[in-house]
Amino acid sequence: MRGRLRYLVAAALIAAFPLLGVNVFYLQLAQQVAFVSIAVLGLNLLIGLSGQLSLGHMGFYAIGGYGSAILATTYGWPLWASTLAGLLVAAIIGGLVGIVALRARSHYLAMATLAFGYIVEILAQRWIDLTGGTMGLFGVPQLNFGDFEHGGIYFFWLVAGALLLLQIVNDYVMQSAWGRNLRAMKESESFAAIVGLNVSLWRFGVFVASAVLAGLAGVFFVHQNGYISSDAFNLAQSLTFLIAVVIGGLGHPYGAIVGALILTVLVQFTAVLYDYSLVLYGGILLLVMLVYPGGAAGLLSGIYSRLRPTPKAVRVAANERAELDDAFRGRPGEGGAGESLLEIDNVTKRYAGVTAVNRVTTTVRRGTVHSLIGPNGAGKSSLINIISGLYAADGGRICFRGQDITGLPAHARARLGIARTFQNLQLIYNLSVLENVMLGAQSERTGFVAGLGRWCFSSSFEADLRRRALALLGFFGLAPYADMTPGDLSYGHRKLCELARAVMQQPTLMLLDEPIAGLNNEEAAEIADAVRRLRAAGITLLIVEHNMSFVMDVSDRITVLDYGEKIADGAPDEVRNDRRVIDAYLGVEAVE
């Protein structure tokens, strides 16, 4: 049950509300709440999920609105056409600003969007021939379906209906892979890249989407009263949206509506207290940010869940060890075991003067467990980062499955079948353990509409994905913690969780960066066991690790680095007895 009932009730309320004999004033307020919510919904996705801050969304609101109003009024287009055109313009401009958003981050992005907002405000006010400026644009056709008497009611149904649909889409996004990916991206772009997400594309997409939603709100606004004036589009409007998002609850599915509602009421309230309105707004901002960062919606749902805790989802294979294979379907190996899979050729990496990796060459063979050892600062992690594509090598080349991937971005390499774990865990703390694992499954992504359909109408939405993720958790003995967040797990369990996520990616090659650092013997043993079974399942592993006994235990081949140089490369026994290795690794020469 994903609250389909909820939506039916909402639809019923929407249908009934205007018929309860509410007067024009309240009806108009309701319309306003509805279309403001639409704009805020978009902003909530943008800031709350993808972590991009826009201070100029009023711009898109205005562009959508003016686009439709001008075409319908000055050029007499039919409303459906002008509306669509308005949205299109908003989308195009959104795309242009979105390009800046791709390059600029945090406060630079805030600046760019702010400037954009100002530009629109100035043009709306002074390009009088087009917009009519402050004196306004008259006779903008209203969306009343030719019935002036009950036009307001139809208009409300239209706007509220649109809001309901968008809310459903919004809920889908927030509860599906789309939302998970966005949250992941917000917390760590490098993480998103290594599970195979094209971060730039996603950021761009969300930006445009939110621009279009703001545009839609603008379209509804201009066709509400049949009159618009540029005074309605100013910086304050952008801030209003922003405040609505925060008051409502940033990232909360119902934050938008709650925020818009509260704000509209607030505005009516302050109409009489005009001498103190700013203290009121300012005070509320401080109060919300400092005391209820979750916003009103967060507060309410908190109370709600305390009143009646939601039952835990029933899970397959809750506790007993699931078999790996039923969760993991190894990719059809293009080549037989033993042949070269990854070739590292003369790779070099320097940071400010220091050479971390110096002309290292080695080959990882298919179906083997290959270990990379050496004291801290020997350049092991740097090498892993270079292979996974997070760092660019300063020299040399890397070939994977016979293909030169030196120039490929991290997400592309992930899609080719390279998965990795991090020395300092990369987990998404806003998501549950289960969802963290599910993040790994980027390879099979369903189309948006198809997914939406399944989410709405089939009870088995993402069931298969869930089952496999749970099975994997079972395999690593984490099934009982599926619904917790990584923050609640012990260090060892977090490591296992990350390992599970990597396996979920169905990789050909797994890079493990210090998989057992900081684990106790039992946990270490589990990992060793897991490594063997992964190898058995046909995965090739490249492991960076300090722990000699572990490495000797699991490895088929070992490469030893010291001060960025390769000092040994061979089977465990050869390496174990290599004098240089002992010196370097146990730092004995410092003793003599």
Partner: protein
Amino acid sequence: MIRVERLSCAIGPVRILHDIDLEAAAGSLVAVVGANGAGKTSLLRAISRLLPISGGDILFEGRSIRAVKPYRLARQGVVHVPQGRQIIPSLTVEDNLRLGADRIPSLNPENILRNLEREYARFPILRERRETPGGSLSGGEQQMLAVSRALMMEPKVLMLDEPSLGLAPRVVRAILAALRRLTSGGVSVILVEQAAFAALEIADRGYVLKNGRIVLSGPAADLLKDQALIQGYLG
């Protein structure tokens, strides 16, 4: 000089230190060794009060320092050289050196100047680089700078976190030797090291840490007798 009694720490729900007992007498050098994530760094952060204590206590010169703020503790003479050196890149070598000493009320300009000369004598390379920004030093030079910067503060307790990290053996040897010499001046040193044996070689006492517990401790010499055992714990 400094004594840690049944110390426990937790970050959120995760307990990272369990009932640690450790003592560093005046003029002694104590080595803390252990695998990655065993809790060595956390231990030092707890002693220098960057980490909240959930149980136990820490005594400096007999007084509890549970409630002391990190910067005040540093001014009182418990100086911690953190991992990664933390040289301020925008400041020159000399500015970096003075940074800590400038904060200590008991040090007047003459003392500071004297200490400066002393440190330049200890690591001549720093004198050559005195006007260059700390950011452009090599790893080894940065480590020397970090140690000198701490010594400028005339510490009673000096704690170092992995000074050998990513350094050439020669440099490591030089630094460890310098530390050893310090103790003769009455300073007590707590040394956290990856290169376990190198550290134990110069230490008076050794503690082996694992999963936030002290699993082995005693005179460094005794510990060194059973390398295999330590190997086991390190792995």
